[in-house]
Symmetry: C2
Subunit: 302 residues, 2 copies
């Protein structure tokens, strides 16, 4: 965090606190039945996390002059989808992870059945968050567009499809292009949706600005995943809050594994530059928060 400009660091903290409150308020009360399911949902969502995706929603809204009160719903929805995917990916039949954000994974803290159901229910909650409740744009057309963008990013063309490709790739040899295509679905699609959903809430956004934001989002999405894979090789488990070396142990083809660490780092830098160039060509007046987001994501150590 020491490399971030003070102003951005303050804003990021404010966004993180904002979404934390919003998430807590939207999750079902753990004192109501079914309590164990509700506890598991709250445990998984409210267990820390950098809130990268909500911050990206807020940063985009900030750049586009969209009131944050119009994107609180989108910020929560993307995080609910992200957390449900972590809960399911951590299951024994998938990545079989025991530690997440420095604590036992959902199925370890509760049980497998509860973890499956908690993930299922978080996915429902994500879509529900986009159609009713506070923090949404007024227009029904725009809300529908938000549901559509989130669905495209989460389904077989997006995150779920990417996870399937990831599982199929274990022990396989993939080209860098194949790895990047897999990442574009598994992580990239939801990162991209954060930017596109906030953009959908903006009035009269020029088509050229939207194209530039899309290029920005696609670039940082891929950079984010390669950085994640680098941290799995080089990172500190105590800082990460999860085990390192998991990809290697699973014989998972990753960018650093196939191209080497130096090439992976270079690719991250290149994608970061591309993201900044896209912002520069967007025609938008002040894109600094999004530039700082990209810097944060590629410089992070956890």
């Amino acid at each position: 965090m020491q490399t971030l400009p003070v102003d951005f660091s303050t804003r990021l903290g404010a966004w993180q606190r904002r979404v934390e409150e919003q998430l807590a308020a939207r999750l079902p009360d753990a004192r109501t039945e079914p309590k164990r399911l509700h506890e598991a949902m709250r445990y998984s969502v409210l267990g820390g996390g950098k809130r990268v995706r909500p911050a990206l929603v807020y940063a985009t809204a900030d750049v586009l002059g969209v009131p944050l009160t119009h994107v609180d719903g989108a910020a929560c929805a993307v995080e609910f989808i992200h957390v449900y995917s972590l809960v399911h990916d951590d299951l024994p039949a998938m990545d079989n992870d025991e530690l997440r954000r420095g604590r036992p994974t959902c199925h370890r803290a509760f049980d497998e059945a509860t973890a499956i159901l908690a993930g299922d229910a978080l996915q429902v909650l994500a879509f529900q968050t986009l159609v009713s409740g506070p923090g949404l744009p007024d227009s029904a057309q725009v809300r529908l567009r938000l549901v559509d963008l989130l669905a495209q990013a989460s389904g077989t063309d997006g995150m779920a499809g990417g996870q399937a490709l990831d599982l199929a790739a274990l022990g396989q040899e993939l080209s860098l292009a194949e790895i990047e295509a897999m990442h574009a679905r598994k992580t990239g699609a939801l990162i991209r949706a954060c930017v596109l959903m906030a953009a959908a809430c903006a009035e009269q956004l020029a088509e050229s600005a939207l194209v530039a934001l899309d290029e920005y989002a696609t670039s940082i999405g891929l950079a984010f995943q390669i950085q994640d894979d680098l941290l799995d090789v080089e990172g500190d488990a105590a800082v990460l809050g999860k085990a390192t070396g998991a990809d290697l142990a699973l014989n998972k083809p990753t960018y650093p594994a196939v191209a080497g660490i130096a090439a992976a780092r270079a690719r991250v830098r290149e994608l970061h530059e591309r993201a900044l160039a896209a912002l520069g060509s967007s025609g938008l007046a002040n894109t600094e928060p999004l530039a700082a987001m990209s810097h944060w994501l590629v410089a992070r150590r956890s």
Copy 2:
């Protein structure tokens, strides 16, 4: 089926064929990547089934004069949600079922990870089906209402919550009221959503008619589940396409187990009568298709 009026039987067959075509067209192509995931989704959805929920959507639309072309999306969405719930409920960590609709369950035919992802992706597809593509009402407001109704029926206040209560109830003693409350969520909520979603597509529906349809849907939802539990005790596994006696083996509290078979049958009849009475008081001109639906559901042997 021999007890159904010829006219209704013909219509039911037409609805079943209609939704079959619609489902097949909306599922991702098994020749595109990730193929195994797409195959698992198609295997699970297109593997037979009575299509009770889509038929209920169409029957309600029929009664209310809503064009079927406006509810095809809703009919598919409820079936996608239903099938995803079967795929996840069948998992080893949940009910651990090996047979479904006369064939191996998804995780037996494929593998657990694929079954988890197929369920996840089917849930996304359900919501996506309600916002874009053919078979929807024109109004964005009404589409949003459809998403909201489906989300309410699927989340912790509905199906996912009901499944959690069901798992928590294994080996416990429940009162009949508690069993009925559990059923109202686990099965009842989605059955009710079928009727309410079709009703949401109707223009200028009287509030009294909506209340009557809600009462009808709630009654048949509960009757349907008690009949299901009766078939688990009395049914023929070959006709059902799944193992019988599973509830008893799991020490699952069900209406027949707690109240006895005769009382369970009487409760089904009573709920059927209540459903018919609600239709009678609805003020709607021709409710025969919905009456026939209720009759079909309580008389079924599979």
